[in-house]
Amino acid sequence: MKTKNIRNFSIIAHIDHGKSTLADRLIEYTGTLSSRQMEAQVLDNMDLERERGITIKAQSVRLEYTAKDGETYMLNLIDTPGHVDFTYEVSRSLAACEGALLIVDAAQGIEAQTLANVYLALDNDLEIITVINKIDLPSADPDRVKKEVEDVIGLDTSEAVLTSAKAGIGIEEVLEAIVKKIPPPQGKREEPLCALIFDSHFDAYKGVIAYVRVINGVIKPGMKMKMMATNKIVEVTEVGVFRPSMTNVSELAPGHVGFVAGSIKNVKDVRVGDTITDADRPVAEALSGYRKVTPMVYCGLYPVDSSEYDLLRDALEKLKLNDASLVFEPETSSALGFGFRCGFLGLLHMEVIQERLEREYNITLITTAPSVIYKIFKTDGEVFEIENPSKLPTPQEIEHIEEPYVKAMVIVPNDYVGVVMELSQEKRGEFKDMKYLDTTRVMLTYHLPLSEIIYDYFDRLKSATRGYASLDYELIGYRQSQLVKLDILLNSEAVDALSIIVHRDKAVYRGRILVEKLKGIIPRQMFEIPIQAAIGNKVIARESVRAMRKDVLAKCYGGDISRKRKLLEKQKEGKKRMKQVGSVEVPQEAFMAILKID
């Protein structure tokens, strides 16, 4: 197929605005899959994605479409995640495209995360096609939403496509707009090979498989390819495309999107963002790749069963392969033993990784409360960063502490402006701006400590606004704050994995709630367990778990021993998810309790 008949595009949308459904319709309409093969939301192929209704991993699929002009086009759709945590995935997808569909819900209008992703697309010089979706809803108001897109983003919406992906309205119009508006790729066959790796995954038989977008030149089996960042040279064994399952083809030409395999065993040899070139005829310069992502949220991950430590490391390495934003380093905790300190883009990202480790790798985990990176300025002039509260030096050694702040943008119906302001204030927010998007919707801008966002700001925002608010944030720098370390003592012993860093004014309140919470979580044991919250040596809150008075089967009756044994086995099973901390058995969820304080 000629390069001029290729279109590479992605889809930008807020969660629930219908991105995956529209993608499904495009696949269906172009006959890439028969309706019998269609499983709702084909591109979200991780169980977790279907269950949560979100896209986590970028996926891609190749569609063939015969347009009204009689020509057949190859459309490469690269699906993108919509959540703020996965901005990095989005930027990877966008770099492989010439255009993007911006889907906006005809009833709800623009949301905070849509904005962030649109700006990202504009930065990549992508042609943007506005799609107003869900026009079949009774509350749909396409004209209002169009105006909003023009006012807020500044896009011309005179040719916006009106669709209902669910009802199958406007699908052909979307395909026509893709063909007409998105420019074809510019690459040349004769040039040396230059392809961008935008994703990868590990296959037990084929080794590492790189997902690429070819810029110039051709890649085909038999040739030697070179990964420019790692200088690794391997023979190409297979190339193929996604329809949406992996299908081998004879070559990938300029503008093509597909995969390359070459018996690469080491996951570290293939870096997302790297450039693949022809080892015999290399290009002089690699593509610019991606900006490095910096994790904003850290937590400790520990196997409940310490013998699973190696398993956990392998699993993290495998996950990192197609999630470059995940970082991890070994760490030890006196309470939890050997584990890893892991960095994530945000809370959802953290939860997703955790769930994937438990589900796909079958590792029972203990996750410690998430933390941001603090900058510590010591009295002796030393400055360093910590991402684990237990590493905080004693108060005497600290001159001051700085914490990360973000610029948070909240879009909300104007009825809720009051509650959002109240909440943001409570979370130590600094009001910056308020802008009406239309007569009923408002964009509020605050500067907030990131720690408050990862603590419960988002959950509280959602519940205070009945789910109407959307949030996006970006790091703006560090600021000095009055922070203290809050320690939790179980049975008079400080548990390092339960320490948190909090603002001094909130320490007593948080301490009190936390010990109450732990009291409800820690099961009764043979002895009374005092639970204390302390700042330095000062205990600020105390509760205790009463001792279990007795725990013994009174009767072994009539020789039915199996039944008694099964009862004991069941009790023992329940204890498996607990970690022995000193003399106390602590359930997994205790380490996350800090997050679930209302």
Partner: protein, 378 residues
């Protein structure tokens, strides 16, 4: 080989509100066919186990004494003709004080029964009514006395503590009453609210006024201290007896000895296999009456599980587990296998490691499940 024989009578006049044992009321029409089927099963086993002798027999329920004197006699006679029974065998029958009379006592006596276990539970009438017992405290006293008059020298009384609205004082009165009656054995069981019982339903509705935990604990401690002080030695977590009157049949369960259970829902442990009979009474009758084996579930626990069972059963007794016996049974070294667990439990002061045996401490008895669980395979 000596084996124990358990005979299950799955009938009651009225089901107690806490009871989840395999026993049924409203099945009086099945008494006769059941006894016929039961005798069929007994004589069948008699043939199979002809090389063994029986040294303990325990007729339990349900309420064995709900059956007529004739039926009781019929069962005992069948046992005697089917098995070789040791002359010194302990032959126990469970009895509900509300179902006993001279005729039945005589039938039991002439059938060789030498131990009667009365389910009394309490000597407080309001408590007896509130837990669904069919007899009064006076009837219990009369029943025990008439058994003694009929020549039964070895009598047990079952008592319960932790009952709704029960007080420590109330328990004390019952325990003292039992002691005064001159029985040889007292079992004191804590109430456990079991799934599926009327008590469980009441509990979920918040209508079951169970004693506070510290009261429940105090009652437990009271039984474990007061009974030994009055000549009843504790030999198992919930069992107390005068010297020489330990229940030999129950000891078989705790000492990993073989036993055969006959009747609906009865459990057996023979040649390291655990199996149990059909629990539905009608289905049991239909099967057994044809001379077929009425076994429903079979399980030969794997070695690690069998070891755990051996350990937690042995540790229920005051003597505990004899290291050498364990070694003989499983041909493996106890400490090599469980050294770490034992050390930890000893550190927690839950068990004592003696020269020949390990056994629970007083605290260990109270938290027996903590110890038992520790030995289960992961």
């Amino acid at each position: 080989m000596k084996i124990g024989l358990y005979i299950h009578i799955p009938f009651c006049q009225q089901k107690c509100l806490y009871c989840d044992f395999p026993s049924h009321d409203k099945l009086a029409h099945l008494y006769k066919p059941y006894v016929t089927a039961l005798c069929q099963e007994i004589s069948g086993w008699g043939g199979v186990l002809s090389g063994n002798s029986v040294d303990t027999i325990y007729i339990g329920g349900g309420t064995p004494t709900i059956l007529s004197a004739d039926s009781l006699w019929q069962i005992l006679e069948c046992v005697h003709t089917s098995f070789v029974i040791d002359r010194a065998a302990e032959i126990s029958v469970e009895a509900n004080p509300g179902t006993i009379n001279q005729e039945k006592l005589l039938a039991l006596k002439s059938g060789g029964v030498n131990r009667i276990s009365f389910g009394v539970q309490s000597f407080s009438d309001p408590l007896l009514r509130s837990i669904g017992r069919i007899h009064s405290a006076d009837q219990a006293v009369e029943a025990v006395e008439s058994a003694q008059k009929a020549g039964f020298g070895n009598i047990n009384i079952d008592l319960m503590y932790g009952l709704p609205e029960q007080t420590c004082e109330n328990l004390r009165t019952s325990v003292m009453q039992a002691i005064e009656l001159g029985v040889t054995h007292i079992s004191a069981y804590g109430l456990k609210v079991e799934e599926g019982t009327p008590f469980a339903t009441l509990d979920k509705q918040g209508k079951l006024l169970l004693p506070e935990e510290d009261v429940d604990e105090a009652m437990y401690v009271f039984t474990t201290e007061f009974l030994p002080d009055n000549g009843f030695r504790r030999y198992e977590i919930s069992n107390f007896s005068k010297v020489g009157f330990e229940c030999c049949h129950n000891l078989k369960y705790w000492q990993f000895q073989p036993y055969l259970g006959v009747g609906a829902a009865a459990h057996s442990f023979l040649q390291k296999e655990r199996f149990s009979n059909i629990s539905d009474v009608s289905q049991y009758i239909a099967c057994a009456v044809k001379g077929k084996l009425p076994v429903e579930v079979r399980e030969t626990p794997e070695v690690s599980v069998a070891k755990a069972e051996y350990i937690f059963l042995a540790l229920r007794t005051v003597q505990g587990l004899f290291i050498q016996e364990f070694k003989n049974y499983f041909a493996c070294d106890f400490f090599q296998e469980y050294g770490e667990i034992v050390a930890k439990l000893a550190r927690q002061k839950l068990i004592v490691v003696g020269e020949k045996q390990i056994y629970l401490t007083t605290v260990g008895m109270k938290y027996g499940n903590v110890v038992f669980r520790a030995f289960l395979p992961d």
